[in-house]
Amino acid sequence: MNRMAKAALLTRLLIALRNHGSWCGETHVQKSIYLLQELCSVPLNFRFVLYKHGPFSFDLRDELTSLQADDLLTLQPQAIPYGPRLAPTVGAQALANRFPKTLASYGAAVDFIAERLGSCGVNALERLATAVYVRRQHPEASSTECAKILAGLKPHILLENALTAVDEADQLFLETRLQPMLS
């Protein structure tokens, strides 16, 4: 997928996330793109590593800045003490109209991710995305084993919360496998 097609898909995702109540800060976008790519196999080709809040792509962060430099994305500052929200510009929405086939192909996956993640805060997103990351690395491990690995990687996450996150991740894997439109 070329850069402009990715920008069109990102625009669609940001709008969908906001419609489902997401704050749409960078962490929300990072985790949503991660799950879109890894759970729903949308070929965005961002490389993710395990970072402060779980899976994180430096390529994606650079691209989010580049899209701001190209006037396709804007940071909306918020009241003290909150971090900014990301929003597509008018130009980005015009650009998205040039990619109807891309949006039709991956629209269901975008809506699925937005619906599932729109209401999540950053800590819940960190737990869930990290659980997906761990599960991908350890597909045969039991839930408890995965939860222990997760809590080892992120010492501030309690084991019981890690276990819940692994169960949620397994549920998402199951749902995306059962719905061909999503994977």
């Binding site: 704050w23 402060k52 800045t65 500052p77 909150y82 891309t102």
Partner: protein, 442 residues
């Protein structure tokens, strides 16, 4: 009496001090090679003073890294949460980690190709970067015995020098993540602090200056700023931020970066020299490409490249002759098109469309395009308020809210065709801007 501390004078930091062990790293072949790598490639052809090298920059980065480490790990500056998550900072390991940070900072650039960034992507094997070369050298026979004598694992040096962005296959602890942020962090990385100050001094462009003393003194390890709305919860990740009293110096740093980008790093003629240099190196090193191994890398510096370039300029049949001529005889291509809001409103990739049209109308090799939207932004960092609360910098600072980002899309033409192609472009530009090919899914 034997000296255990060695001083070097430095135009930015006055003195840079090293221990005897640290000086052995300084004296190693990989580090000494940096004496012959220009910090800003061929920028000296535009800003004559910009002849400084990666050698002194790396010393400056080490000096600043040590200062930042001392401030953020000072017991009085650590919160209980930070002590819990990174207990190593308040233990007897503090001295060890200080040396690892300083050595990682010193070595962070040893993998740079001749003339720094100019031709890395084209010359290295696919997927490889100068950071991979840095990791290779840190672990090489040239340096491994020195690390062993210092009781430092080379892998730790590589991790902190390059950070999680470049060491993708490594898992970073909370401490390693924070310490690598000291060096390569987007907002307050000392690599950037030093190069802005040093490049500003040597180019004579005063906009790159900022109050780094105040900034360093106010740096703290903080929790990341909270999100808002219904999702109002404390953020649990740690990041480098500033006390509120340092916010203005942080603004000055980010403004300095913007001005240096727009005045120096993205100067149109400086950029075309990079492109000609890239063309020259690609031809000169063909077909083998750049030697991605220790001895080959250590044997290639700007000195060898400049000697080859001067030879090639004199010989019309030599590989890279045309590019060598463009560089050494000021025959560089001239800009005929710059990115502008009216055109990008029609097509964000306007330059690409126009380049295709020009190459269809005239000799294709007579044109080059330089496209680069700024990548590192990071104006959103945590700020510690007087009441102990942590806030997003963007919620506090109107300066950061309005900080411009640089996006470059320039087309250059060979001098002999410049006038006619520019005239043709101006006449037809309106018709050419619309995307000619359907980029949507096949």
């Amino acid at each position: 009496m034997i000296k255990h501390i060695h001083e070097l004078r430095d135009p930015i930091h006055a003195f840079v001090r090293l221990t005897t062990d640290e000086r052995r790293i300084l004296d190693s072949r990989p580090f000494q090679r940096l004496r012959h790598i220009h910090q800003l490639a061929l920028t000296y052809l535009v800003y004559p003073g910009a002849t400084h090298r990666r050698f002194e920059h790396s010393l400056g980065v080490m000096e600043l890294a040590g200062r930042v480490f001392d401030v953020i790990s000072h017991p009085g500056n650590l919160t209980d949460k930070v002590r819990d998550l990174v207990p190593e900072l308040s233990s007897d390991k503090r001295g060890y980690w200080r040396q690892v940070v300083r050595m990682a900072a010193l070595c962070h650039d040893i993998g740079h190709l001749p003339f720094s960034h100019a031709a890395e992507k084209e010359l290295l094997p696919p997927g490889k970067t100068h950071e991979d070369l840095t990791a290779l050298l840190v672990n090489s026979h040239e340096m491994a015995p020195l690390w062993e004598d210092m009781n430092i694992q080379p892998k730790r040096i590589a991790k902190l020098a390059l950070g999680p962005k470049e060491m993708r296959d490594e898992t970073f602890s909370v401490l390693e993540t924070i310490l690598s942020e000291i060096i390569v962090g987007d907002a307050f990385g000392v690599d950037r602090m030093d190069y802005l100050l040093r490049d500003s001094l040597h180019t004579g462009v005063a906009y790159g200056r900022f109050d780094h003393f105040r900034l360093v003194d106010t740096l703290r390890i903080l929790t990341a700023p909270p999100s808002g709305g219904e999702d109002d919860e404390e953020n649990e990740a740690l990041a480098l931020g500033v006390e509120v009293g340092g916010l203005q110096s942080a603004e000055a740093l980010l403004l300095a970066r913007y001005f240096m980008y727009s005045q120096v790093y993205f100067h149109a003629i400086r950029r075309i020299y990079d492109i000609h240099l890239r063309d020259f190196l690609s031809e000169w090193l063909a077909p083998a490409g750049y030697p991605f191994e220790v001895d080959g890398h250590l044997g290639l510096t700007d000195v060898e490249v400049l000697a080859a370039m001067r030879d090639a300029e004199r010989k019309a049949s030599a590989p890279g002759h045309a590019s060598a001529h463009n560089i050494l005889c000021r025959g560089h291509f001239r800009p005929i098109y710059f990115r502008n809001p009216a055109d990008t409103a029609i097509n964000p990739e306007a330059g690409g469309e126009l380049l295709r049209a020009l190459q269809g109308q005239f000799e294709p090799t007579c044109f080059r395009r330089d496209r680069y939207p700024q990548k590192a932004g990071a104006p959103n960092f945590p700020v510690l308020l007087h009441n102990g609360q942590v806030s997003s910098s963007l919620a506090l600072s109107a300066v950061l809210q309005n900080l411009p980002l640089v996006s470059v899309d320039t087309i250059y033409a060979s001098p002999h065709i410049r006038a006619v192609s520019e005239k043709w472009l101006n006449k037809h530009r309106g018709d050419l801007l619309r995307p000619s090919s359907e980029e949507d899914l096949e």
